[in-house]
């Protein structure tokens, strides 16, 4: 532990609590001294501080000790009084103001860094004026009456040798009324040590007169108490002495005064007082007496000051004893005296004195360097007591606090010191501000540093300074606070600090700095609207005052969502609309895969590029320049790069765009209108190209800004950044490139191949043709099944023709390229069936379907400044939203460029409510059901169910067609009987039956004139002459092929149907109100596969007349077996004679029918439906059965081979001859045979669901044999 005397507090105490010498001098003395520019006290003061006086001292104890350091304070008697509080405050204020001017930081100096502060030494951080201020503050308390250490110990009476009647002057001096008040009012013993000094000015003449007076004085006042001081020995007042002979003289004078007069006087006084105190207060008896006596005084007035103590009272004497002992470093004696008196004061409720004594006890303990806790406790006690007394003793509290703080600091309790500083703060704002600032430094210096507290107290201090108009101090503290709160996420704090410091700088006229701070708070979305408005208003106000235009890199208003920035450009890829540009590149890639010359097209292209373009731009993007002198022209046919953001609103017309930057700007603030300019730079001609967009943002609004760049000449184009102007004077600046670079570094260069900055650099190449594509009158909303004729318009406005056009459509089910011949035909008429039309579409369709690429004919090219129209077919195949991607490939003619081809990408995203939205509504629900006709070979009954699912539309049914020229369709009953109006109203259900017959094309190919082929059924009114539509030619056939593809697996034996209706009322799409809309519904793969692949029929005579008397009757029958499967099959026909007559019972025949039981629910054939003798059959059969059972012998037998095996090729038919022999007339059921069939497995294509083998019982075949007569 350091010696307490060497600590700051120790030094302070040794300086401040020292004996006071009162100086009384005549005006002539002063006059003499003032010749040197000094007052008398000023002249002597430097010699009052003795570092090594080395005087032996003996106080109360018998043990003497030596005093080394000693100091006396000299004061004029007139100064020995309590300083005027107002004057003192004014002086302190001046101190602070001056310090504020001196300490005010340079405007452009950097903000202090916290880490930097921490690394520096305490003395460098703390402003030096703190100490001075504290000292001054303590001094405002001098000469209070309750503390004896400021009471003069001695009185120095000074008279000049020029004074007349010197001796009388000495006496007069002490008797004047100028003496301090507490000498006269009894607070202090007026009998003080007196010392007489005669001052002789050598310029006034020789010192003989002085010597004479001195002798006189010595005889009057005693020989030891008188001294002579000669000054101004230099004759002309000009001579400068290197050595100062007079200094030793004065020093000796003062030393003699101290060691021979003051110290012995104090010793003596201490001994005297100690003796008195011992006799009256020490010992048990005295204490008891004292207590008793105090108790009796309880009714004394309870004022804050307590009772008045005169110098003769024992309390005052003890206090004097303590103070003298303290001043002479006898701390033991001092502390015992203080303790003795502190209880007295407490009992007397003399709180101020009590606190003063407690304060001294603490200090004495500190000087003794023992019982630290006690010392702190005493200080706290004193402090609290002062605080309780209120504002009257605020100064005392402050002084006590400052001492306490020093004590804590000495013991490294810096945090506690800070809290004491905080507690010192009283009503005086200015003092509080300084105290708070000191507290903040305590937090900074504590270990570990408490930065949050540091910042908080700085802010508090700054606020106090501000209230006292000490703006420079306020700014200084806030500057430090800003360094603490830099980057803080406590947003209210940040706002507060920046806002205030900004305001204050502005009030000093330092607008530039003010603006930098105000910028920080602009994006304060967490603040209330009023605060935001206040911030913005002040900000703009300050900016206005600067009279400058600011360019700010980090303008936070409005917020720019840089991540939404996207640059879209066109190289060989061009887009018909921004909607198309926003589609993912991968979608287009996959679409264009087989259209672009080769898969390595990209790399080839790059190879070419690297040859043509300087290497350093190799990774740059390419864009195509507009013509150099086309600046007056609308920028339509110039070439482009575009930038966009995700999620946007498309505002411009389709053809007007060239290159865009979409920037998402949004404002969190509530007010004001902004003008925002977005700028591009390009290093063509190394000039900046500015694009301006004016818009305003309301609070909380988000908008998307899009900018277009049209390069005019070849070169390199770089997008530099965006600028925007806020309220015409503040320009925000955002540099895209630097941002990208930063990001890249942050990523750690993991992707060195592709630098983001390259995305913003473009090589502008020569102008190239660019096709523009458009599909007019694409419906927005339609019903499923809608079939339309559309036109694709390709527009080439450049000076070069393009050729080799190809087109690919993402969803050919919906949109299909047509034949050029359809371009100008009238719709719906062109679809009608024509006579003698070659049916040759099939093969081409299949090919198209595979490739999905539509090649325009070789000779088609889009010449310069012309347009090309091409027919398209649209078919709304299924309900829902449709997304269509169309890409058109074309090559440039006669252009030597690195770009040989380009693509035009069109997109109709029908999910969007865009111009070309297509929303397909459900219309008709068509389903078919097929049931085979058992007794007929390859005949089916077809049931069609149609439900109108629309809410209001009325469809006119027109036609049902089967596809593929293999099936005859005929109506089972006229439509009139089912649907007299031929109109299907909303919600109506229609069921309709048809007969479907397989038309064996292969065998009878020669007669298959399409005219006779009934593959279409007109469902309209009978008298309707409207032509049927041809489902076998484009586009219906094409769409049908796609439907087949989409509606499921293709397997053999299926039938496809096309159901065509018309909608007369054109209220869906107003395009063609007078023409019917055509709807085609395709139902594919109506399956036959659930039936047996083998079908057969038995042909033969039905009725035979035979004379049985001659011979049994032999009947020849023919069985035709058809294999409808795609596999070869082996069929085994077995005939067997009826084992018993019962088995022939007709009742049993039903169950033996070849029909599966489950199909009986539907429709099954009634045997011999065209037999004229149907009615008799039952009766006959019964009779026959009866007769058969009676005879118990078979009436007929199968003759010929009982079992026939044969192989059937796929889709082949074979005939098997059968023969029976009938022995008696009757009606016979020839169903007792069975077919076993076996399909040869076909590898891979055979579905598992199909049966590979089976057995079928024979159908009933009734043969009537009559006895011929």
């Amino acid at each position: 532990m350091v010696d307490p005397a060497n600590t700051p507090l120790g030094k302070m105490l040794l300086e401040e609590i020292t004996p006071v010498v009162m100086v009384l001098c005549t005006p002539l003395v002063e006059e003499s001294c003032l010749k040197n520019g000094l007052s008398f006290v000023q002249m002597l003061s430097p010699f009052c501080d003795f570092t090594n006086i080395d005087v032996p001292v003996r106080t109360a104890s018998d043990q003497p000790y030596r005093l080394h350091k000693f100091k006396i304070r000299l004061f004029y008697a007139s100064d020995i009084r309590q300083p005027n509080l107002e004057v003192a405050k004014e002086r302190l204020k001046q101190v602070i103001t001056k310090a504020g001017e001196d300490d005010f930081p340079e405007i452009y100096s950097d903000l202090p860094q916290v880490n930097d502060l921490l690394s520096r030494h305490e003395s460098e951080i703390l402003p030096t004026w703190f100490q001075f201020f504290n000292k001054e503050l303590v001094r405002t308390l001098s000469f209070s009456d309750h503390e004896a250490f400021d009471h003069p110990v001695a009185c120095l009476l000074v008279v000049s040798s020029r004074d007349e009647e010197s001796i009388n002057r000495f006496i007069d001096l002490f008797n004047t009324n100028k003496l301090p008040s507490f000498l006269s009012d009894g607070a202090m013993d007026p009998k003080v040590l007196k010392h007489y000094l005669l001052v002789h000015d050598n310029q006034d003449g020789a010192s003989e007169k002085a010597t004479k007076i001195l002798t006189e004085m010595r005889s009057t006042f005693g020989p030891n108490d008188c001294q002579l001081l000669c000054i101004n020995s230099s004759q002309d007042g000009q001579t400068r002495h290197k050595d100062t002979p007079w200094s030793t003289f004065i020093k000796n004078l003062m030393q003699e005064l101290s060691s021979k007069h003051i110290i012995p006087y104090m010793e003596q006084k201490i001994r005297l007082l100690n003796q008195q105190v011992s006799s009256t207060r020490k010992g048990f008896r005295n204490q008891f007496k004292n207590l008793w006596w105090r108790k009796g005084k309880e009714d004394a007035l309870d004022t804050t000051n307590g009772p008045v103590y005169t110098f003769s009272s024992i309390e005052s004497q003890i206090r004097v004893l303590g103070d003298y002992a303290f001043m002479l470093r006898d701390y033991e004696l001092a502390v015992s005296s203080y303790r003795l008196i502190s209880t007295d004061y407490k009992l007397d409720k003399a709180w101020k004195r009590y606190a003063g004594v407690q304060e001294m006890i603490g200090l004495t303990y500190f000087m003794l360097d023992q019982s630290r806790k006690e010392a702190e406790y005493c200080m706290e006690n004193a402090f609290n007591t002062y605080l309780k007394l209120g504002s009257a003793v605020q100064q005392n509290a402050t002084r006590c606090g400052l001492w306490w703080i020093e004590m804590l600091k000495t013991r490294n309790q810096i945090k506690e010191a800070a809290t004491v500083y905080f507690r010192i703060c009283g009503e005086d704002l200015l003092h509080s501000a300084v105290m708070l600032e000191q507290a903040s430094f305590c937090y900074l210096l504590s270990k570990p540093p408490m930065l949050h507290k540091y910042g908080f107290h700085l802010v508090l201090s700054g606020d106090h300074y501000k209230k006292c108009d000490q703006i420079k101090h306020a700014i200084r503290t806030y500057r430090n606070a800003v360094s603490v709160y830099r980057g803080t996420t406590w947003n209210l704090i940040k706002d507060r600090v920046h806002f205030h410091i900004g305001q204050w700088y502005a009030s000093l006229g330092m607008y530039d700095v003010a603006v930098t701070h105000m910028l920080e708070i602009l994006a304060s979305s967490h603040q209330s609207k009023t605060s935001q408005e206040l911030f913005l208003r002040d900000f703009l106000h300050i900016v206005q005052k600067t009279g400058k235009t600011f360019e700010v890199l980090k303008l936070q208003l409005p917020v720019i969502n840089i991540s939404s920035l996207k640059v879209i450009f066109e190289d060989h890829r061009t887009y018909a609309s921004p909607a198309a540009a926003s589609i993912k590149e991968g979608v287009w890639r996959s679409l264009e895969e087989d259209m672009i010359p080769s898969l390595s097209a990209k790399s080839n292209w790059l190879d070419v590029q690297s040859k043509l373009i300087p290497r350093k731009y190799k990774e740059s993007n390419i864009c195509v320049a507009g013509e150099a002198n086309s600046s007056n022209v609308e920028p339509q046919n110039d070439e482009y790069k575009t930038s966009t953001s995700t999620g946007y609103v498309w505002l411009l017309s389709t053809y007007m765009y060239n290159a865009y930057i979409y920037i998402c700007l949004y404002v969190l603030m509530c007010v004001y209108v902004f003008t925002i300019i977005l700028s591009f730079g390009r290093d063509i001609n190394s000039s900046l190209v500015l694009l301006e967009v004016d818009f305003s943002l309301e609070g909380g609004e988000t908008i998307l800004v899009q900018l277009t760049v049209t390069p005019r000449v070849e070169g390199v184009l770089t997008i530099v950044g965006v600028k925007w102007k806020l309220s015409s004077s503040v320009v925000g600046l955002h540099n895209f490139e630097s941002n990208s670079v930063n990001k890249r570094i942050a990523k750690g260069r993991r992707k060195p191949k592709h630098s983001p900055s390259a995305d913003l650099k473009f090589i502008v190449i020569k102008s190239l043709p660019r096709l523009q594509g458009f599909i007019p009158s694409l419906p927005e909303k339609t019903y499923a099944g809608d079939l339309r004729h559309l036109v694709l318009e390709l527009n080439n406005q450049s000076k070069f023709p393009v050729k080799n056009l190809k087109m690919k459509i993402s969803n050919p089910r919906f949109l299909n390229a047509g034949n050029q011949s359809y371009l100008n035909v009238e719709f719906s008429a062109c679809l009608e069936k024509k006579l003698n039309v070659e049916q040759s579409g099939g093969h081409a369709n299949a090919k198209k379907m595979l490739q999905n690429v539509f090649h325009f004919p070789e000779d088609i090219s889009v010449q310069e400044e012309t347009s090309l129209s091409w027919p398209l077919w649209f078919h709304a195949a299924v309900p829902g939203n449709i997304s269509l991607y169309i890409t058109v490939y074309y090559e440039m003619e006669n252009v030597s460029s690195i770009m040989k081809f380009r693509t035009l990408r069109m997109h109709y995203n029908l999910n969007f409510a865009l111009t070309f939205a297509i929303y397909v509504l459900p219309s008709l629900d068509v389903s078919f059901e097929l049931s085979p006709c058992p007794s007929r070979l390859e005949e089916f009954l077809l049931r069609m169910d149609v439900v109108n699912k629309t809410s209001s539309e009325c469809f006119q049914i027109h036609q049902l067609s089967s596809v593929g020229q293999q099936w005859d369709v005929s109506l089972l009953q006229p439509v009139d009987s089912i649907l007299p109006s031929q109109s299907l109203f909303a919600g109506q259900v229609l069921s309709c039956f048809f007969m479907l017959k397989y038309h064996r094309k292969s065998s009878t190919s020669e007669d298959s004139n399409p005219l006779f082929l009934q593959s279409d059924v007109r469902l309209g009114p009978p008298g309707n002459s409207e032509a049927l539509f041809d489902v076998c030619s484009s586009p219906l056939a094409d769409f049908h092929d796609y439907e087949r593809l989409y509606q499921g697996m293709s397997c053999q034996g299926n039938v496809d149907f096309v159901f065509i209706t018309q909608l007369w009322r054109g209220n869906i799409d107003s395009g063609a109100p007078h023409r019917p809309l055509l709807f085609s519904h395709h139902v594919c793969h109506s399956s036959l596969s659930s039936f047996s692949p083998i079908s057969w029929s038995v042909d033969g005579p039905r009725t035979i007349q035979h004379n049985f008397s001659a011979s049994p009757c032999g009947v020849n029958l023919k069985m035709t077996i058809n294999n409808s499967s795609d596999a070869a099959s082996s069929v085994h026909v077995k005939t067997f004679d009826p084992p018993s007559s019962n088995s022939q019972s007709i009742d049993a025949t039903a169950s033996q029918s070849g029909l599966p039981l489950e199909n009986q629910a539907g429709w099954f054939s009634i045997p011999a439906v065209n037999d004229t003798k149907v009615i008799t059959t039952d009766a006959l059969a019964k009779r026959i059965t009866k007769s058969v059972s009676l005879e118990s012998a078979p009436q007929f037998i199968w003759t010929g081979s009982s079992s026939t095996k044969l192989k059937l090729q796929p889709r082949a038919t074979a005939e098997v001859p059968l023969q029976i022999c009938v022995f008696a007339p009757g009606i016979y059921d020839l169903s007792n045979y069975a077919l076993n069939w076996n399909l040869a497995p076909i590898e891979e294509s055979q579905g598992e669901a199909n049966k590979s083998s089976g057995e079928c019982q024979g159908y009933p075949y009734y043969l009537t044999v009559l006895q011929s007569t």
Binding site: M450, H452, F456, W490, I493
Partner: protein, 135 residues
């Protein structure tokens, strides 16, 4: 009844992840930032204290004029800081504990990144209800 002024959850990195005005203390527009200042300054003290005790709740660790700061430190050193102007220890304790439960629930949300701002309105409503109940 305590009139609490402000409740803040500060993450381990001293970043406020949740702020709420609780209680019935009259809000002064000019001193809106004061609670933040006080609570942030109290972080320094929490920093020291949290390692010296095993208790989660640190009562009345700091004060500013008549405002008192109580802090609840969770296992992951997330600090629940309550600025209030009188003491009702039981209520504050229960409040902290229940908020802790809520906080753990929000931690369990797989979409919540620990240490990020709590934006759940449900959390907000619940804290408000707890504040009315206990403070």
């Amino acid at each position: 009844m305590t009139t609490a002024a402000c409740f803040i959850i500060a993450s381990r990195n001293d970043i406020p992840i949740y702020e709420a005005e609780v209680g019935s203390a009259a809000k002064r527009e000019d001193a809106a930032q004061l609670p933040q200042f006080i609570l942030q300054a109290a972080l320094d003290i929490v920093q020291d204290l949290a390692w010296t005790t095993s208790a989660m709740i640190l009562k009345t660790i700091d004060k500013f004029n008549d405002l008192v700061v109580s802090v609840y430190v969770t296992d992951d050193h997330t600090r629940f800081m309550l600025l209030h102007d009188s003491r009702s220890d039981d209520g504050i304790k229960s409040f902290f504990q229940e908020v802790h439960e809520l906080y753990i629930k929000s931690l369990l949300n797989p979409l919540y990144l620990p240490g990020s701002r709590i934006t759940s309105s449900h959390f907000d409503t619940k804290v408000g209800a707890l504040a009315r109940k206990y403070l």
